[in-house]
Amino acid sequence: MSENETKAAEPAQAAVKPKGEPLLKVENLVKHFPIRSGLMQRQTGAVKAVDGLSFEVYPGETLGVVGESGCGKSTMGRLITRLLEPTSGKVEFEGNDITHMSTAKMRPHRRDVQMIFQDPYSSLNPRHTIGTIVSAPFKLQGVTPEGGVKKEVQRLMALVGLNPEHYNRYPHEFSGGQRQRIGIARALALNPKLVVADEPVSALDVSIQAQVVNLLDDLQQELGLTYVIIAHDLSVIRHVSDRIAVMYLGKIVELADRASLYKAPMHPYTKALMSAVPVPDPRRRGVKSERILLKGDVPSPIKPPSGCRFHTRCWKATEICLTQDPPLLELKPGQQVACHHPENAADQAPGEEIVAEAKDAVKVVDVAKDA
């Protein structure tokens, strides 16, 4: 198995070498949603959905963002597309600061950044035909494509594998997979540079999921697109991404290229997450017999734990983890991790005593069934 993985690692790493200037640069991005209560609607707290993210996206690559529900990955997607305004921090697109740009100034930038949404049922207006939906970007941007709008829409429909003759049909006449293709056609209408896809395949059946994953792949090759793909499915993320960011409670805990992350995860959370994925191979029940089971649930982002946010569920937590938030450091070329006691790397705070609660933070189970 390890042989296979090293073989796979070589081309992946070669493809991952950052080339030139980043397309998108995010620094210390924060989004707090205020909680108001009482007569005066005073702010009494905040949901710290995204709490200090820094990363870069290079042209032509795919950055995968993975995490459990509530970790802030969707909020992150909406921040970088400026569908939400950040509380603080900076978002730079092609060197331009778009963090607090006004709606009017933002408009010309919008054509460069497009989004594909999760639910193909609620993201298409049921009263508009496919033609209207896919041509809406042209209307909004005041662009007349070469050869006319209709011709261009039909070209896009053919590009994503839909029958161009279905131009006048309504969304309800299409299946889930086809609707997702319509959403993709709409996102591609203005020739964007960056496409942010928020759970693009999680609402689809397995066989359809593969069709859409392949389509995204083809379009990237053909059009030189850059993707940020947000998903909770670690197998899908591994398949589509060049680099992967793992999020936990509003922070990136690990950011690494695909091969390193899956071969040697450094953050304990990443390790637990990977070991939780059910492997579609009945024979593995006997081989891979250990699984780290995290106990309990993700803490509330309203009151995130002090220090390292993962310390409440981590089996390696020490005193320092309770008080000091570990910074995201590059411990290996191409692998950044925010942990005091990483796996597969030198301990960042040696000589610490594991706290008592951490000792039963996880349950290691034997996945092998009694045969």
Binding site: A12, E68, Q178, A210, Q211, P280, R291
Partner: protein, 377 residues
């Protein structure tokens, strides 16, 4: 590898199971079943304005105690309708509000359920067989505390006072790993997180120690770490009580981990059935190949491309004549001897306990799998 590699004996000699050509389901072998659970030629049809929806159309399988059967298939393949059929939840008794037409036989512990008195079935439901639903938020009542709902499930089948039942509810919540069960018993479902709600529902299903547990997509709505906790819990409980489990899911990873037996459904019918090992390593149906090829594998070397199934699942109103998978099948045009396309392929035995419903001959399938499909996965 094992003897599954060898092509099965000539297809013409292969055994045909079950005989679904008989028009009247009652006429199909009414001998009592010796299995713990046996479903024979189950059909669930819904008449609608647009036509008859054949959600389940001739499904048969057996399950023994302590075993886990995984049912996989895409949405609309009839997985959930099957489980509701077994639980007897399609017919709403004397009011007859459901229009479902359920035929066939369901033998549960030596008793036939479909023809049985609804009151008899009600005595079994919840006590001998229980169900875990996909979405705990909609399966639990928002107005009652979790404890009350578990107490109700217990007292329906046990003549005990509320205090005893409450103690039992706390015991069950503790068993499924809810912290401070004596306090949480008085919480409402909305006060629980998704994973805790699913645990509470499992507690409710297991309160009467059922012998058959049907889990319908029990982890689909959950995060992967919570999913691992829940699957671990179901495995532990099965070990402890020796129940039979039917695990319905679209996630091949989940079934590979949980199931002993596997049943692949497509368009309301079973297209392949066998031990998990055989179905994963010697799959004998093009649809199963498609499912395996569609799935990105976390445990394998990175493949450049997935091999999806083309097209989309069939409408259950106009299931094509012949094989339901025919319009999507990449091997539909492979010459198959004297087989008529419009004839529906029946389940045929490939090897002991392994059945597949495909017009391709056993030799053709073995050759396509070993030469064309397996190397690409």
């Amino acid at each position: 590898m094992t003897d599954f590699d060898k092509p099965a004996t000539a297809a013409s000699a292969a055994e045909t199971v079950p005989d679904t050509t008989v028009g009247v389901p009652q006429a199909v072998g009414s001998a009592p079943s010796t299995s713990f659970l046996e479903v024979r030629d189950l059909r669930v049809h819904f008449p609608t304005d647009d036509g008859l929806v054949k959600s389940v159309d001739g499904l048969s399988f057996q399950l023994e105690k302590g075993q886990t059967l995984g049912i996989v298939g895409e949405s609309g393949s009839g997985k959930s309708v099957t489980s509701l059929g077994i639980m007897g939840l399609h017919t709403t008794g004397q009011y007859g509000r459901s229009k479902a037409r359920v035929t066939g036989e369901i033998w549960f512990d030596g008793q036939e359920l479909l023809g049985a008195d609804p009151d008899e079935v009600r005595k079994l439901r919840g006590r001998e067989m229980a169900m875990i639903f996909q979405d705990p938020l909609s399966a639990m009542h928002p107005y009652y505390t979790v404890g009350k709902q578990i107490v109700e499930a217990y007292r329906v089948h046990h003549n005990v006072d509320k205090k005893v039942a409450r103690k039992r509810a706390i015991e069950m919540l503790d068993l499924v790993g809810i912290p401070q069960p004596d306090k949480r018993v008085d919480s409402y479902p909305h006060e629980f997180s998704g994973g805790m709600r699913q645990r509470a529902m499992i507690a409710m299903s297991l309160v009467n120690n059922p012998n058959l547990l049907i889990a319908d997509e029990p982890t689909t709505a959950l995060d992967v770490t919570v999913q691992a906790q829940i699957l671990d819990l179901i495995r532990d409980l099965q070990k402890e009580f020796g129940s039979a489990v039917i695990m319905i899911t679209h996630d091949l990873g989940v079934v590979a981990e949980m199931a002993d037996q596997l049943l692949v459904m497509y368009g309301g019918r079973c297209v392949e059935r066998g031990s998990a090992e055989e179905v994963f390593y010697q799959p004998q149906h093009p649809y199963t190949w498609g499912l395996l090829g569609s799935m990105p594998r976390i445990d394998r070397e990175q493949t450049e491309r997935l091999i999806p199934v083309k097209g989309s699942p069939p409408s259950l109103i106009n299931i094509p004549d012949g094989c339901a998978f025919n319009p999507r099948c990449p091997y539909a045009d492979v010459p198959k001897g004297n087989v008529t396309r419009t004839v529906r392929p029946e389940l045929q035995q490939v090897s002991s306990g392994h059945y597949s419903a495909c017009h391709l001959s056993a030799e053709q399938r073995t050759r396509i799998w070993t030469e064309e499909i397996a190397p690409k996965l």
